[in-house]
């Protein structure tokens, strides 16, 4: 059973207080009507399913009710970091030890998303 650090509550809390909500950083297309059916289908249904480092959206449902992001290894279940909405991960499949520095540019350009 996972023990999850809620970045808003600032402490580790039991998994039972949380709900997983699928892959993180799925942004709703800004202009849905400009999307092809394929693009719309991709947005609705197609998700990364890595065996390894994965970025997930969770909500602290029985707690502060905030959504946040979890970087977790899908085989060991180790949680590598949790971070707030609007932030980007420092640990990724490309940088499993952490990125050298947070890139200001991608901080600015980020958009958060949900899953339908």
């Amino acid at each position: 059973m996972l023990y999850i650090h809620c970045p808003y509550c600032g402490e580790l809390r039991e998994e039972e207080e949380f709900h997983p909500k699928g892959q993180a950083h799925i942004a709703r297309p800004l202009d849905p009507d400009a999307c092809s059916d394929e693009e719309w289908g991709d947005y609705l249904f197609f998700r990364d399913n890595p065996r390894g480092i994965h970025h997930e959206l969770w909500v602290h449902a029985v707690g502060c009710r905030k959504f946040f992001n979890v970087t977790r290894h899908t085989v060991t279940y180790e949680i590598l970091e949790t971070y707030r909405m609007g932030e980007q991960p420092t640990i990724t499949a490309e940088h499993p030890e952490g990125r050298p520095s947070r890139d200001a540019a991608d901080q600015a350009s980020l958009r958060e998303g949900v899953r339908a």
């Binding site: 059973m1 039972e16 289908g41 991709d42 197609f46 399913n49 890595p50 899908t74």
Partner: protein, 416 residues
């Protein structure tokens, strides 16, 4: 192939069992095959078997990165039923059911398919509406089933608490008498042995590391034992499908989740049917060894760890004890987890892909075991002909873009 029979068993006993043959060979990979099946679980081995036996494609390899039948085939709760709501799913599962009914004889391997009947309980008025809808649809699709009231359920399962005092009293159930359970390992082994006898090469401990693709056409796979060529490749890799698809540059609408199950210690038989409840959320049957085989829920997060979270097990046992208060003093022996690849509409994918010659059969979620022979059969037909079998056709990947989903969990209601 040595034929198995009671007589043969006696004969072998007299020679102290020294003359049993291998059930399948351990061949060296050939350079090329007509068809490669990636994934040596029940579906994959079955596909190879039907290719060789029914569709005349005998130059087939099954590539398995671990041991055959070592994935979800070996980790499920063995329930077989075909009472699905939507026409497309019902056709697929009923096709499978008919194959189950002769499978032991067909394979000359007793898969112990035991048609002890499955009850799907209803605990709310909406449950009962859904049950009626499903059973009516089953009947018009030629699938057996009836709707029982609480009294009918009690008669079938005297040890269940069907009283009105329960938190969610049993209001009734759907009952499919032809449904039941089978011995999961035997399905994989039986298919493996029969496929091998038809000349199929089962390559265990062989891992696909990439696909050979040229001009949008697949022509083989890279493996840890070298390249193997084939112009038709069918991937039947359950929880690992997404990873495989990624190697071919294909995205699948799949998430791999832990699905847990557990067994009690062996008990003298007390439960002869399979009982499933969506509402209080647990399902249970008793094996021929006496274990209560209990299915727990899917954990909400992605996971390849073959384990899930403990509260899922707790909730399941709460449901079981709610339905069967007498089991409170029975003990849980062991729990485990499988990796189920789930689709957004709770239906599988049997589909061509944008890579010519490369097919996927995946996304079975919790429904994979019961579909094994049917899935294998229609997938084999599709691979052999290069055209999706009519029963498989609605399960194309395209449905996620057109919107033509087959929403099997849609039937579960929201309350008013």
């Amino acid at each position: 192939m040595q034929r198995y029979s009671g007589f043969g068993l006696v004969k072998h006993a007299l020679s102290h069992h020294e003359n049993w043959q291998r059930q399948w060979r351990n061949p060296t990979p050939k350079k090329a095959y007509d068809v490669i099946i990636v994934g040596g679980g029940g579906h994959g081995l079955g596909t190879a078997y039907y290719l060789a036996k029914e569709f005349g494609v005998k130059n087939v390899a099954v590539i398995e990165k671990g041991w055959l039948g070592g994935g979800n085939t070996a980790r499920n709760t063995t329930i077989v039923r075909s009472n699905y709501l939507w026409d497309e799913a019902a056709a697929l599962y009923e096709h499978s059911m008919k194959l189950w009914e002769g499978l032991s004889q067909d394979l000359n391997y007793n898969v112990m398919f035991s048609q002890r009947g499955v009850l799907n309980l209803g605990h709310t008025l909406q449950d009962m509406r859904d049950i009626q809808r499903r059973v009516n649809a089953n009947r018009l699709n030629g699938i057996d089933g009836e709707v029982l009231d609480a009294k009918g359920v009690q008669e079938l399962v005297p040890i269940m608490d069907c009283s009105k005092n329960a938190r969610y009293p049993v209001l009734g159930a759907s009952w499919q008498p032809r449904a039941g359970v089978a011995r999961h390992d035997a399905v994989a082994w039986g298919f493996a042995r029969a496929a091998d006898a038809h000349g199929v090469d089962i390559l265990q401990q062989t891992e696909v590391t990439g696909f050979k693709i040229r001009d949008g056409q697949v022509y083989g796979v890279h493996t840890n034992r070298g390249d193997i060529e084939a112009k038709t490749v069918g991937c039947v890799a359950a929880g690992n499908s997404g990873v495989l698809a990624g190697m071919a540059g294909i995205k699948l609408p799949l998430e791999s989740h832990p699905l847990q199950a557990l067994v009690s210690e062996p008990l003298k038989p007390v439960l002869d049917t399979v009982v499933m409840s969506n509402h209080v959320h647990g399902y249970i049957s008793q094996s021929d060894k006496g274990d209560l085989v209990i299915g727990a829920g899917i954990d909400g997060y992605n996971g390849y760890g073959q384990r899930g979270s403990y509260p899922t097990v707790e909730h399941t046992l709460q449901a079981i004890v709610e339905m069967f208060p007498i089991f409170s003093r029975v003990r849980m022996n062991r729990q485990w987890g499988g990796i189920v690849d789930t689709c957004p509409d709770a239906c599988p994918i049997l589909s061509k892909t944008k890579v010519k010659g490369l097919y996927f059969n995946c996304g079975w979620g919790t429904g994979g075991f019961k579909a094994t022979p049917g899935s294998a059969h229609v997938f084999a037909a599709s691979l052999a002909k290069g055209e999706m079998h009519p029963i498989a056709a609605p399960f194309s990947i395209d449905r996620f873009n057109t919107g033509a989903l087959i929403d099997e969990h849609g039937a579960a209601g929201v309350a008013h």
